[in-house]
Structures are given as C-alpha cells and as structure tokens.
C-alpha cells in the first residue's frame, strides 16, 4: 500500500501542464542562476509591528532585502515574531512603521504573487484535499486546475487522500496539503511558516529534499520560518536569526554549502561548523527568554 514519492525531476508533467506561453494570470519567474540574486524581490525597511496595547512591539525596526530566487531561513525562539514578520511580507498585516516593497512596489495587501504556507491549520475544512489545492488555480481561471491539484498531491505523497476532508487527515498530512496548495499557483514568492512543524523526523527529511527539488526547478523566492537549526542550514542560502522582546534581527549567516544538498551534508564539516556558530548565538538568546 505504501507509495513512495517520485522525485520531481521524474515528473515532467508538473512542469508541462503549465501553459507554455506566459499566461495572463501567471507570474512567470525569471530564469535565474543557482545562487542568491542581487536584484531584490522583497525588501523590508524599518518595519515595526505592535499588537494592541502591548508595551513591547512584536517586531521592531526590521530591515531585510531578499533577492529573486533566494532561499532565506528565518530562525528564532518561540514568540520572537517570525510569524508576524511573515504576515507583514504576505500583506496580511500592515506595519505601524516602515515599508515593504515587492518587486520594487509598495505592498498593499495579500496577492496571488505570494504563496503562503501557514503555521496553523488553514486548510478550508469544507473542501476536500483536492479542492483545497485546486482553489488557487481556479481563482486564476485555469481550466486544468483539477489536474494541477492532482499532480501536486502526488508530489507531496497524498494522491490517495485527494477526496478526503481535511478533518480526516493527520496533522502532518494537512500540512503537506497546505504546501501543495501554496505551490499550485506557482507563486514567484513562497512564504512558509514552519511548514514541516507537524511532521515526524523522517517524513520531514523527505519533504525537505522534495522542497529543494521543487525550488531547484522553479526557483521561487522562499522565506522559510523554522526553529530547527539544522533544517535552516540544510535548506537556505541565508539564515536570519531573530531575537525576542522586542522581535528584531540578531544576526545573519550566509550558508555556502554547495547545492544540490542531500541528507549526507548533515555530517559534513562545513555544516557542523555553521551549526556550532548559530547554536552559540541562539543559546545566548534563549537563556534570556526561557521563562
């Protein structure tokens, strides 16, 4: 019964079902070389977010520039404002100070340009897994929305539950459907909030490889929130470490481990070196906030 996941490079169909010319609704991603770009896709400038009457800002004076096709991991302890920052990038929440530019233009609200994978259950409970994934393509008026959804479910290893309601899927399965849903519109920017948080270690590492392989094909700009240090290093071109009370950027680390990366890199010297550095920074932060 168990189905393996066919790696994406064996699946020309996922690519080929997309329209060949630049469809009016689809945002075509520029073909970019394999590493971080200079041309900024997303830039934050002195962003501050407050919640209600709280004395401390959730996010304070954060500036960050992310190139097209870059893979950035956002790392930090619970409550440091990672989700809040991602919400700002997605246009769900307007900063009280500072501004956000997407492709050089000020962000005014959520758009189909940014695919979002949410931290908490955000699947529509009233749609089957398939309809959830097909939701985006249908909004874009694509006629093959169903086919696109089916293919994506196949990629995340969930073709067999296409017609189930979200409530009957496990937490990990739900999160994988959420990833498929975000990918379905092939957004140039992917904002992922602890997408693998509900997965067990094994499925998690498979999904990490799958994500890298998708990223390699489509080269979206990715902002990936996590609190797993190894995951951040394994996936990203750049790791941004946040600190808490108020939430701001503590340090950034460039990850120069060559791609493509496989599970083997976990034991590489460069990897362990990076991990040691980041762990040191983070332990200092964590000691302050453990309460």
């Amino acid at each position: 019964m168990a189905r393996g996941v066919s790696p994406i490079h064996q699946r020309a169909d996922y690519i080929e079902t997309a329209p060949t010319g630049p469809a009016p609704h689809l945002h075509v991603v520029d073909p970019v070389p394999s590493h971080a770009q200079q041309k900024p896709r997303l830039s934050l400038d002195g962003v501050t977010v407050n919640f209600g009457a709280r004395a401390v800002s959730a996010v304070q004076d954060v500036s960050l520039t992310i190139g097209a096709g870059e893979f950035v991991a956002l790392l930090g302890p619970s409550g440091c404002g990672k989700s809040t920052l991602l919400n700002v990038m997605a246009g769900f929440c307007t900063p009280v100070q500072g501004r956000v530019l997407l492709d050089g233009e000020p962000l005014t609200g959520p758009s189909a340009k940014c695919g979002v994978v949410f931290q908490k259950h955000s699947l529509f409970p009233w749609m089957t897994a398939l309809d959830n994934v097909a939701f985006g393509p249908r909004r874009l008026g694509l006629t093959n929305a169903r086919q696109i959804a089916q293919d994506l479910l196949d990629i995340v290893g969930l073709a067999h539950v296409a017609n189930e309601w979200p409530a009957s899927l496990s937490g990990g399965m739900q999160q994988r459907v959420g990833i498929a849903r975000a990918l379905a519109t092939r957004p140039p920017v992917l904002l992922m909030d602890e997408p693998f948080g509900a997965l067990d270690a094994q499925t998690r590492s498979l999904m990490q490889e799958e994500l890298l392989s998708i990223w390699d094909k489509l080269r979206p700009t990715v902002v990936f929130v996590t609190h797993d240090i190894e995951e951040a290093i394994f996936l990203a071109d750049r790791v941004v470490v946040m600190q808490t009370y108020p939430g701001r950027i503590a340090r950034e680390f460039a990850i120069d481990i060559p791609r493509p990366r496989s599970a083997e890199v976990l034991n590489d010297h460069a990897f362990i070196e990076r991990r040691r550095e980041i762990t040191d920074v983070i332990r200092v932060e964590a000691r302050k906030t453990f309460r």
Binding site: V116, S122, F124, P125, W126, M127, G136, R139, E164
Partner: protein, 263 residues
Amino acid sequence: MTVALQSLRKFKGVAVAITLGAIGLSLFAGIWTWASAHLGNDVLLPSPLSVLSTYAELIADGSLAKDIGASIFRVFAGFSIASTIAVPLALVLAYSRILRGLVMPLIALIRPIPPIAWIPLAILWMGLGDPPSYFITSIAAFFPIFLNAFAGGTSLQQEHVNAARSLGAGPFALLTKVMLPSALPMIVTGLRIGLGQAWMAVVTAELIAAQSGLGYMIQISRLSLETSRVLVGMTVIGLLGAVMIGSLGVLERRFIVPWNYPR
C-alpha cells in the same frame, strides 16, 4: 475483510441500540399500563391500549392526518420566515460591529419573552387564522437560528480569509467560498434547534383561532375531557418532533456539512 468486519460491528451496534431502545419503551408502556389499571379512570390516565385504539379511530376517519398536515404546514411556514430573516440578519450583524452594538441588547431583551406571551399582540397585529400562528412559530424559531448563525458568522477564521486572499480570491469568491461555508455548520445547527422550537410552539400557535392542527385537537379534546385524544396528540408531537430533528441531523451529516463529520 476489515471493511466487512467493521460493518458487521456497526450493524451489531445498531441492533443492540434498537433492542435496548425497544426494551426501554416496552418498560415504559408496561408501567403506564399498570398505572392506568391501578387508577382505573380513563379520564385521568387511559391505558396505552385505549390510546392505540384512539389512534386507529383518528387514522381511520382521516382527522389525524389532516391535523398533522395542518400543524406541519404552520411549522414550516413559521420556520421559513424565521430563517429567511434570522440568517442574513445574523451574518450582517456578525460583520458590522456598530450594527451589532445597536441591535444585540434589543435582542437580548426580546429573547426571553416566550412565544405564548406574544399571542395578544399577534392577534391585535395580524388578526386571526394563520398569520398570527406563523408569527408565533417564527418567533420561537427565530432566536436559536439567529444566535447560532451569529456565532457562525463571528467564528470566521482570519487565517482562512488570509489564505483565500493570497490564493487570489476576490470579494465574491471570499463571500461564497469562504465566509458562507465557514458559517454553515453553525447555521445548520441553528436551523435544527429552530425547527424543534417551531414544532414545540405550534401547539401554542394553535390556541389562536385555529380550526385544525394537533394543538387545536389537544385543546378541543381537553374541553370534552377526551384524555386519550390528548395523549394521541402529545405522542404524535413527540414522535414527529424526534423524526424531524433526527432527519435534519442526518441531512446535516450527510449532505449539508459532511466535512464536519468525516467518515
């Protein structure tokens, strides 16, 4: 094999439930028979058997069917009026803080007034015959429908709105694909409770100038001290009420909000 085993278990479960239920009801009928024999007064408490024969009589002369039909019609009329007003009103109030602040205190004050206390005004305002009885049944159905639909409207999750917008949903798709289905489970719950309340209020409604219906039948039979007819009326109300509520529950699980009841 697993499926066969499971459906066997399910079947066995249903059989056990039916058996137990039947035993329970028979016990009840037994106690009733004993009590009525003990009292020996058909006006006070007729035996289940004499109630059954009254059933046969009323079914044979067609009057029971007519009364049931009349009552059911009144219930559905009032229920439809109530839901047509309550659901949109609740959703509008759920989305507008100001309207909510204006209207909710009024609703809190009007809610505890029982349907029966509305009879005088219903007659004065709507006259006789069916309109006031629709008014009474719809007053009864209104509040559960309204309050549940309101809860449904306010329970919309910001995450779902965010997700839909970032997937390119416009205002129309947001309304029809996100807001409505998100409120639906609570709306349906409200409709189920409201239907039950409307059904309970029809007896009250038929105090007003009605010439048919189960409530009317109970009133008339009281005047002539036909207790076994009163009991026929009451048991029919119980039975039909249970069937109505139950079938709306099944509809809900199977067709209206199946996603809330996976498998």
